[in-house]
Symmetry: C2
Subunit: 219 residues, 2 copies
Protein backbone atom coordinates (compact mmCIF):
# COMPACT_ATOMS: atom_id res chain seq x y z
CA UNK A 1 0.00 0.00 0.00
CA UNK A 2 1.77 3.10 -1.23
CA UNK A 3 1.90 6.06 1.15
CA UNK A 4 2.30 8.48 -1.71
CA UNK A 5 -0.46 8.64 -4.33
CA UNK A 6 1.35 10.79 -6.86
CA UNK A 7 1.29 9.80 -10.51
CA UNK A 8 1.79 11.98 -13.60
CA UNK A 9 -2.00 12.27 -13.73
CA UNK A 10 -2.35 13.54 -10.15
CA UNK A 11 0.46 16.06 -10.15
CA UNK A 12 -0.58 19.50 -8.85
CA UNK A 13 0.40 22.16 -11.39
CA UNK A 14 -1.27 25.23 -9.95
CA UNK A 15 -0.39 26.37 -6.41
CA UNK A 16 1.77 23.28 -5.93
CA UNK A 17 2.47 24.47 -2.38
CA UNK A 18 -1.16 23.66 -1.57
CA UNK A 19 -0.92 20.13 -2.87
CA UNK A 20 -0.26 16.83 -1.13
CA UNK A 21 -0.10 13.22 -2.19
CA UNK A 22 0.33 11.89 1.31
CA UNK A 23 -2.06 9.04 2.07
CA UNK A 24 -2.76 10.19 5.64
CA UNK A 25 -3.66 13.71 4.49
CA UNK A 26 -5.91 12.35 1.72
CA UNK A 27 -7.66 9.86 4.01
CA UNK A 28 -8.38 12.47 6.68
CA UNK A 29 -10.15 14.68 4.12
CA UNK A 30 -12.10 11.75 2.69
CA UNK A 31 -13.17 10.68 6.17
CA UNK A 32 -14.51 14.11 7.09
CA UNK A 33 -16.63 14.22 3.93
CA UNK A 34 -19.65 12.05 3.28
CA UNK A 35 -20.71 13.33 -0.11
CA UNK A 36 -18.44 13.15 -3.12
CA UNK A 37 -18.88 14.27 -6.71
CA UNK A 38 -18.32 11.47 -9.19
CA UNK A 39 -17.33 12.24 -12.77
CA UNK A 40 -17.81 9.89 -15.68
CA UNK A 41 -18.05 10.19 -19.45
CA UNK A 42 -21.01 9.21 -21.61
CA UNK A 43 -20.95 9.80 -25.38
CA UNK A 44 -18.04 12.19 -24.93
CA UNK A 45 -19.95 14.30 -22.42
CA UNK A 46 -18.69 14.45 -18.83
CA UNK A 47 -21.29 14.17 -16.06
CA UNK A 48 -20.74 15.01 -12.40
CA UNK A 49 -23.15 13.47 -9.90
CA UNK A 50 -23.22 13.79 -6.09
CA UNK A 51 -23.05 10.49 -4.22
CA UNK A 52 -22.40 9.05 -0.81
CA UNK A 53 -19.36 6.94 -0.22
CA UNK A 54 -17.39 5.17 2.48
CA UNK A 55 -13.77 4.18 3.01
CA UNK A 56 -12.23 1.01 4.40
CA UNK A 57 -8.45 1.13 4.31
CA UNK A 58 -7.34 1.82 0.79
CA UNK A 59 -10.71 1.15 -0.83
CA UNK A 60 -13.56 3.59 -1.43
CA UNK A 61 -17.07 2.19 -1.81
CA UNK A 62 -19.97 3.71 -3.74
CA UNK A 63 -23.49 2.40 -4.06
CA UNK A 64 -26.67 3.23 -5.90
CA UNK A 65 -29.57 1.89 -7.86
CA UNK A 66 -28.52 -0.95 -10.13
CA UNK A 67 -30.38 0.78 -12.95
CA UNK A 68 -28.77 4.19 -12.68
CA UNK A 69 -26.42 5.28 -15.43
CA UNK A 70 -23.84 6.29 -12.85
CA UNK A 71 -23.70 2.85 -11.26
CA UNK A 72 -23.80 1.00 -14.58
CA UNK A 73 -20.89 3.12 -15.78
CA UNK A 74 -18.91 2.58 -12.59
CA UNK A 75 -19.58 -1.16 -12.55
CA UNK A 76 -18.42 -1.43 -16.16
CA UNK A 77 -14.97 -0.24 -15.12
CA UNK A 78 -14.99 3.04 -17.02
CA UNK A 79 -12.49 5.76 -16.02
CA UNK A 80 -13.94 7.79 -13.16
CA UNK A 81 -13.00 10.67 -10.90
CA UNK A 82 -14.18 10.98 -7.30
CA UNK A 83 -13.77 14.43 -5.74
CA UNK A 84 -14.60 15.67 -2.26
CA UNK A 85 -14.42 19.27 -1.10
CA UNK A 86 -14.67 20.57 2.45
CA UNK A 87 -15.38 24.30 2.71
CA UNK A 88 -13.61 26.03 5.57
CA UNK A 89 -14.09 29.72 4.88
CA UNK A 90 -14.22 32.70 2.59
CA UNK A 91 -10.96 34.60 2.21
CA UNK A 92 -11.50 38.33 1.73
CA UNK A 93 -8.50 40.23 0.44
CA UNK A 94 -7.95 43.93 -0.33
CA UNK A 95 -7.96 43.34 -4.08
CA UNK A 96 -10.57 41.43 -6.06
CA UNK A 97 -7.79 39.29 -7.53
CA UNK A 98 -6.54 37.94 -4.20
CA UNK A 99 -9.91 36.74 -2.92
CA UNK A 100 -9.97 33.02 -2.29
CA UNK A 101 -11.66 30.20 -0.42
CA UNK A 102 -10.24 28.09 2.38
CA UNK A 103 -10.93 24.48 1.52
CA UNK A 104 -9.60 20.96 1.60
CA UNK A 105 -10.23 18.79 -1.43
CA UNK A 106 -9.25 15.38 -2.71
CA UNK A 107 -9.34 14.11 -6.29
CA UNK A 108 -9.19 10.34 -6.82
CA UNK A 109 -9.01 8.82 -10.29
CA UNK A 110 -9.16 5.25 -11.45
CA UNK A 111 -11.58 2.53 -12.49
CA UNK A 112 -14.06 0.94 -10.11
CA UNK A 113 -14.97 -2.74 -9.89
CA UNK A 114 -18.38 -4.15 -9.08
CA UNK A 115 -18.80 -6.14 -5.88
CA UNK A 116 -20.93 -9.18 -6.54
CA UNK A 117 -20.31 -11.56 -3.65
CA UNK A 118 -23.10 -11.21 -1.06
CA UNK A 119 -21.06 -10.96 2.12
CA UNK A 120 -18.61 -8.52 0.57
CA UNK A 121 -21.50 -6.40 -0.67
CA UNK A 122 -23.11 -6.26 2.76
CA UNK A 123 -19.74 -5.37 4.30
CA UNK A 124 -19.29 -2.53 1.81
CA UNK A 125 -22.77 -1.16 2.50
CA UNK A 126 -22.00 -1.22 6.21
CA UNK A 127 -18.85 0.78 5.51
CA UNK A 128 -20.89 3.40 3.65
CA UNK A 129 -23.63 3.71 6.31
CA UNK A 130 -21.14 3.82 9.17
CA UNK A 131 -18.99 6.33 7.29
CA UNK A 132 -21.96 8.71 7.31
CA UNK A 133 -23.37 7.87 10.76
CA UNK A 134 -20.92 5.76 12.78
CA UNK A 135 -22.77 3.07 14.71
CA UNK A 136 -25.98 3.27 12.73
CA UNK A 137 -25.65 -0.02 10.83
CA UNK A 138 -25.96 -2.24 13.90
CA UNK A 139 -29.29 -0.68 14.89
CA UNK A 140 -31.22 -0.94 11.64
CA UNK A 141 -32.68 -3.75 9.57
CA UNK A 142 -30.02 -5.14 7.24
CA UNK A 143 -30.72 -5.40 3.51
CA UNK A 144 -32.79 -8.25 2.08
CA UNK A 145 -31.70 -10.25 -0.94
CA UNK A 146 -34.06 -8.20 -3.06
CA UNK A 147 -32.66 -4.91 -1.78
CA UNK A 148 -29.14 -6.18 -2.43
CA UNK A 149 -30.09 -7.17 -5.96
CA UNK A 150 -31.49 -3.69 -6.58
CA UNK A 151 -28.28 -2.07 -5.36
CA UNK A 152 -24.99 -1.90 -7.20
CA UNK A 153 -21.91 -1.52 -5.03
CA UNK A 154 -18.50 -0.74 -6.46
CA UNK A 155 -14.99 -0.44 -5.06
CA UNK A 156 -12.49 2.19 -6.17
CA UNK A 157 -8.92 1.71 -5.00
CA UNK A 158 -7.35 4.75 -3.41
CA UNK A 159 -4.17 4.46 -5.45
CA UNK A 160 -3.97 7.57 -7.64
CA UNK A 161 -5.02 10.74 -5.84
CA UNK A 162 -4.12 14.23 -4.73
CA UNK A 163 -5.20 16.61 -1.99
CA UNK A 164 -5.28 20.38 -2.17
CA UNK A 165 -5.55 22.61 0.87
CA UNK A 166 -5.81 26.35 1.29
CA UNK A 167 -5.87 27.71 4.82
CA UNK A 168 -5.14 30.92 6.65
CA UNK A 169 -5.63 34.64 6.06
CA UNK A 170 -5.64 36.46 2.72
CA UNK A 171 -2.30 37.10 1.06
CA UNK A 172 -2.32 40.64 -0.26
CA UNK A 173 0.20 42.21 -2.54
CA UNK A 174 2.57 44.83 -1.06
CA UNK A 175 0.82 47.62 -2.96
CA UNK A 176 -2.51 46.77 -1.27
CA UNK A 177 -1.39 46.33 2.30
CA UNK A 178 -2.07 49.93 3.37
CA UNK A 179 -5.64 49.76 2.03
CA UNK A 180 -8.26 50.54 4.69
CA UNK A 181 -10.49 47.70 3.47
CA UNK A 182 -11.44 45.06 6.06
CA UNK A 183 -9.67 41.83 5.15
CA UNK A 184 -9.71 38.42 6.75
CA UNK A 185 -11.59 35.15 6.82
CA UNK A 186 -15.23 34.25 7.31
CA UNK A 187 -15.12 30.68 8.69
CA UNK A 188 -17.70 28.24 7.36
CA UNK A 189 -18.61 24.80 8.58
CA UNK A 190 -21.27 22.20 7.88
CA UNK A 191 -23.19 22.27 11.15
CA UNK A 192 -25.79 19.82 12.43
CA UNK A 193 -29.03 21.12 13.88
CA UNK A 194 -31.25 19.36 16.41
CA UNK A 195 -32.38 15.93 15.21
CA UNK A 196 -36.04 15.77 14.12
CA UNK A 197 -37.79 12.45 14.83
CA UNK A 198 -40.32 11.27 12.28
CA UNK A 199 -44.02 10.72 13.07
CA UNK A 200 -43.57 6.99 13.74
CA UNK A 201 -40.85 7.43 16.35
CA UNK A 202 -42.14 7.31 19.95
CA UNK A 203 -42.31 10.84 21.37
CA UNK A 204 -40.21 9.81 24.37
CA UNK A 205 -37.59 7.95 22.33
CA UNK A 206 -34.18 9.43 23.10
CA UNK A 207 -32.14 10.86 20.23
CA UNK A 208 -29.28 8.43 19.62
CA UNK A 209 -25.97 9.62 20.99
CA UNK A 210 -24.31 9.46 17.57
CA UNK A 211 -26.75 12.15 16.39
CA UNK A 212 -26.77 14.31 19.52
CA UNK A 213 -22.99 14.73 19.23
CA UNK A 214 -22.69 14.40 15.47
CA UNK A 215 -19.42 15.77 14.12
CA UNK A 216 -17.64 15.06 10.86
CA UNK A 217 -14.15 15.95 12.00
CA UNK A 218 -12.37 13.09 13.72
CA UNK A 219 -10.50 14.37 16.77
CA UNK B 1 -34.83 32.30 -22.76
CA UNK B 2 -36.41 28.91 -22.13
CA UNK B 3 -38.06 28.39 -18.77
CA UNK B 4 -37.60 24.67 -19.03
CA UNK B 5 -34.11 23.27 -19.35
CA UNK B 6 -35.02 19.68 -20.21
CA UNK B 7 -33.22 17.94 -23.05
CA UNK B 8 -32.77 14.22 -23.67
CA UNK B 9 -29.39 14.57 -21.94
CA UNK B 10 -30.81 16.14 -18.78
CA UNK B 11 -33.77 13.83 -18.27
CA UNK B 12 -34.00 12.44 -14.71
CA UNK B 13 -34.27 8.65 -14.87
CA UNK B 14 -33.94 7.68 -11.22
CA UNK B 15 -36.42 9.12 -8.69
CA UNK B 16 -37.99 11.26 -11.39
CA UNK B 17 -40.33 12.69 -8.75
CA UNK B 18 -37.31 14.45 -7.25
CA UNK B 19 -36.34 16.07 -10.53
CA UNK B 20 -37.08 19.48 -11.98
CA UNK B 21 -36.13 21.33 -15.12
CA UNK B 22 -37.75 24.58 -14.08
CA UNK B 23 -35.44 27.56 -14.53
CA UNK B 24 -36.54 29.26 -11.31
CA UNK B 25 -35.88 26.12 -9.25
CA UNK B 26 -32.48 25.64 -10.87
CA UNK B 27 -31.45 29.27 -10.44
CA UNK B 28 -32.40 29.33 -6.74
CA UNK B 29 -30.15 26.34 -6.06
CA UNK B 30 -27.29 27.82 -8.09
CA UNK B 31 -27.61 31.13 -6.24
CA UNK B 32 -27.42 29.53 -2.82
CA UNK B 33 -24.22 27.68 -3.73
CA UNK B 34 -20.88 29.36 -4.31
CA UNK B 35 -18.73 26.33 -5.05
CA UNK B 36 -19.43 24.02 -7.95
CA UNK B 37 -17.73 20.87 -9.18
CA UNK B 38 -16.67 21.11 -12.80
CA UNK B 39 -16.17 17.97 -14.87
CA UNK B 40 -14.08 17.78 -18.01
CA UNK B 41 -12.35 15.07 -19.98
CA UNK B 42 -8.62 14.85 -20.69
CA UNK B 43 -7.17 11.88 -22.60
CA UNK B 44 -10.38 9.94 -21.96
CA UNK B 45 -10.12 10.46 -18.20
CA UNK B 46 -12.80 12.55 -16.45
CA UNK B 47 -11.60 15.08 -13.88
CA UNK B 48 -13.79 16.84 -11.33
CA UNK B 49 -12.43 20.07 -9.83
CA UNK B 50 -14.06 22.41 -7.29
CA UNK B 51 -14.41 26.00 -8.47
CA UNK B 52 -16.17 29.22 -7.63
CA UNK B 53 -18.75 30.60 -10.00
CA UNK B 54 -21.32 33.33 -10.39
CA UNK B 55 -24.59 33.75 -12.28
CA UNK B 56 -25.99 36.69 -14.21
CA UNK B 57 -29.32 35.87 -15.80
CA UNK B 58 -28.94 32.80 -17.95
CA UNK B 59 -25.14 32.79 -17.94
CA UNK B 60 -22.78 31.14 -15.44
CA UNK B 61 -19.26 32.51 -15.13
CA UNK B 62 -16.16 30.64 -14.03
CA UNK B 63 -12.65 32.00 -13.62
CA UNK B 64 -9.20 30.71 -12.82
CA UNK B 65 -5.55 30.86 -13.67
CA UNK B 66 -5.01 31.19 -17.41
CA UNK B 67 -2.48 28.39 -17.17
CA UNK B 68 -4.62 25.83 -15.38
CA UNK B 69 -5.75 22.78 -17.31
CA UNK B 70 -9.31 23.34 -16.16
CA UNK B 71 -9.50 26.85 -17.58
CA UNK B 72 -7.66 25.96 -20.78
CA UNK B 73 -10.12 23.11 -21.34
CA UNK B 74 -13.14 25.30 -20.60
CA UNK B 75 -11.88 28.13 -22.81
CA UNK B 76 -11.33 25.70 -25.68
CA UNK B 77 -15.04 24.92 -25.71
CA UNK B 78 -14.81 21.28 -24.63
CA UNK B 79 -17.94 19.57 -23.26
CA UNK B 80 -18.22 20.29 -19.55
CA UNK B 81 -20.53 19.58 -16.64
CA UNK B 82 -21.07 22.00 -13.75
CA UNK B 83 -22.71 20.50 -10.65
CA UNK B 84 -23.66 22.12 -7.36
CA UNK B 85 -24.95 20.28 -4.31
CA UNK B 86 -26.47 21.78 -1.17
CA UNK B 87 -26.61 19.42 1.80
CA UNK B 88 -29.71 19.79 3.95
CA UNK B 89 -29.66 16.76 6.22
CA UNK B 90 -29.09 13.10 6.91
CA UNK B 91 -32.17 10.91 6.56
CA UNK B 92 -32.14 8.01 9.03
CA UNK B 93 -34.59 5.23 8.25
CA UNK B 94 -35.41 1.96 10.03
CA UNK B 95 -33.71 -0.14 7.37
CA UNK B 96 -30.23 0.36 6.01
CA UNK B 97 -31.69 0.41 2.50
CA UNK B 98 -33.97 3.41 3.06
CA UNK B 99 -31.32 5.72 4.46
CA UNK B 100 -30.86 8.83 2.37
CA UNK B 101 -29.64 12.41 2.30
CA UNK B 102 -31.72 15.56 1.96
CA UNK B 103 -30.10 17.69 -0.69
CA UNK B 104 -30.67 20.04 -3.58
CA UNK B 105 -28.45 19.65 -6.61
CA UNK B 106 -28.17 21.07 -10.10
CA UNK B 107 -26.35 19.58 -13.08
CA UNK B 108 -25.58 21.89 -16.01
CA UNK B 109 -23.99 20.62 -19.20
CA UNK B 110 -22.72 22.42 -22.26
CA UNK B 111 -19.66 24.09 -23.68
CA UNK B 112 -18.18 27.28 -22.28
CA UNK B 113 -16.81 30.22 -24.23
CA UNK B 114 -13.87 32.38 -23.24
CA UNK B 115 -14.50 36.05 -22.47
CA UNK B 116 -11.79 38.16 -24.02
CA UNK B 117 -13.14 41.69 -24.12
CA UNK B 118 -11.84 43.71 -21.14
CA UNK B 119 -15.04 45.30 -19.91
CA UNK B 120 -16.98 42.08 -20.23
CA UNK B 121 -14.26 40.23 -18.34
CA UNK B 122 -14.32 42.73 -15.48
CA UNK B 123 -18.12 42.54 -15.39
CA UNK B 124 -17.98 38.74 -15.16
CA UNK B 125 -15.42 38.85 -12.34
CA UNK B 126 -17.68 41.26 -10.48
CA UNK B 127 -20.53 38.78 -10.89
CA UNK B 128 -18.39 36.01 -9.37
CA UNK B 129 -17.14 38.08 -6.40
CA UNK B 130 -20.59 39.49 -5.65
CA UNK B 131 -22.15 36.03 -6.02
CA UNK B 132 -19.94 34.87 -3.14
CA UNK B 133 -20.00 38.04 -1.02
CA UNK B 134 -22.65 40.48 -2.26
CA UNK B 135 -21.36 44.05 -2.12
CA UNK B 136 -17.70 43.14 -1.83
CA UNK B 137 -16.59 44.18 -5.32
CA UNK B 138 -17.23 47.89 -4.83
CA UNK B 139 -14.97 48.04 -1.77
CA UNK B 140 -11.84 46.35 -3.10
CA UNK B 141 -9.16 47.22 -5.62
CA UNK B 142 -10.29 46.19 -9.11
CA UNK B 143 -8.03 43.98 -11.24
CA UNK B 144 -5.09 45.42 -13.14
CA UNK B 145 -4.40 44.62 -16.78
CA UNK B 146 -1.77 42.15 -15.68
CA UNK B 147 -4.17 40.40 -13.29
CA UNK B 148 -6.78 40.25 -16.03
CA UNK B 149 -4.25 38.74 -18.43
CA UNK B 150 -3.38 36.08 -15.86
CA UNK B 151 -7.05 35.17 -15.38
CA UNK B 152 -9.22 33.21 -17.78
CA UNK B 153 -12.94 33.85 -17.52
CA UNK B 154 -15.50 31.73 -19.31
CA UNK B 155 -19.25 31.82 -19.74
CA UNK B 156 -21.48 28.76 -19.70
CA UNK B 157 -25.05 29.27 -20.84
CA UNK B 158 -27.66 27.88 -18.49
CA UNK B 159 -29.58 26.14 -21.26
CA UNK B 160 -29.37 22.40 -20.57
CA UNK B 161 -29.76 21.53 -16.92
CA UNK B 162 -31.66 19.61 -14.27
CA UNK B 163 -32.29 19.94 -10.55
CA UNK B 164 -32.80 17.13 -8.10
CA UNK B 165 -34.26 17.64 -4.64
CA UNK B 166 -34.86 15.29 -1.74
CA UNK B 167 -36.58 16.71 1.33
CA UNK B 168 -38.55 15.51 4.30
CA UNK B 169 -38.54 12.53 6.66
CA UNK B 170 -37.42 8.98 5.87
CA UNK B 171 -39.80 6.80 3.88
CA UNK B 172 -39.84 3.39 5.48
CA UNK B 173 -41.41 0.27 4.09
CA UNK B 174 -44.59 -1.06 5.75
CA UNK B 175 -42.72 -4.01 7.23
CA UNK B 176 -40.34 -1.67 9.07
CA UNK B 177 -42.78 0.85 10.47
CA UNK B 178 -43.25 -0.88 13.83
CA UNK B 179 -39.49 -1.03 14.40
CA UNK B 180 -38.44 0.67 17.67
CA UNK B 181 -35.43 2.29 15.95
CA UNK B 182 -35.22 6.09 16.14
CA UNK B 183 -35.83 7.47 12.67
CA UNK B 184 -35.87 11.00 11.38
CA UNK B 185 -33.64 13.73 10.00
CA UNK B 186 -30.46 15.36 11.23
CA UNK B 187 -30.52 18.81 9.61
CA UNK B 188 -27.23 20.13 8.25
CA UNK B 189 -26.31 23.59 7.05
CA UNK B 190 -23.20 25.44 6.01
CA UNK B 191 -22.89 27.93 8.85
CA UNK B 192 -20.68 31.03 9.08
CA UNK B 193 -18.65 31.64 12.20
CA UNK B 194 -17.43 34.99 13.49
CA UNK B 195 -15.31 36.85 10.92
CA UNK B 196 -11.58 36.89 11.70
CA UNK B 197 -9.73 40.05 10.64
CA UNK B 198 -6.19 39.65 9.37
CA UNK B 199 -3.15 41.21 11.03
CA UNK B 200 -3.15 44.27 8.76
CA UNK B 201 -6.76 45.23 9.48
CA UNK B 202 -7.11 47.95 12.11
CA UNK B 203 -8.17 46.42 15.44
CA UNK B 204 -11.12 48.82 15.68
CA UNK B 205 -12.29 48.30 12.07
CA UNK B 206 -15.91 47.17 12.09
CA UNK B 207 -16.75 43.84 10.44
CA UNK B 208 -18.62 44.67 7.21
CA UNK B 209 -22.35 44.14 7.46
CA UNK B 210 -22.34 41.64 4.58
CA UNK B 211 -20.13 39.38 6.71
CA UNK B 212 -21.82 39.94 10.07
CA UNK B 213 -25.13 38.77 8.59
CA UNK B 214 -23.75 36.41 5.96
CA UNK B 215 -26.33 33.93 4.67
CA UNK B 216 -26.38 31.94 1.46
CA UNK B 217 -30.12 31.45 1.24
CA UNK B 218 -31.91 34.34 -0.40
CA UNK B 219 -35.10 35.14 1.47
Amino acid sequence: MADHLLTPRTRIDRHAERGSHDRAVIEAILDEAFVCHVGFVHDGQPYVIPANFGRAGEVLYLHGSAESRLMRTLAAGAPVCLTVTLLDGLVLARSAFNHSVNYRSVVVIGRATAIVEREEKVRALRVIVDHIVPGRWDEVRPPTDRELADTTVVALRLAEASAKIRAGPPVDQPRDRASPVWAGVLPLSLTPGAAVADALTAPDAPVPGYLASYARRKE
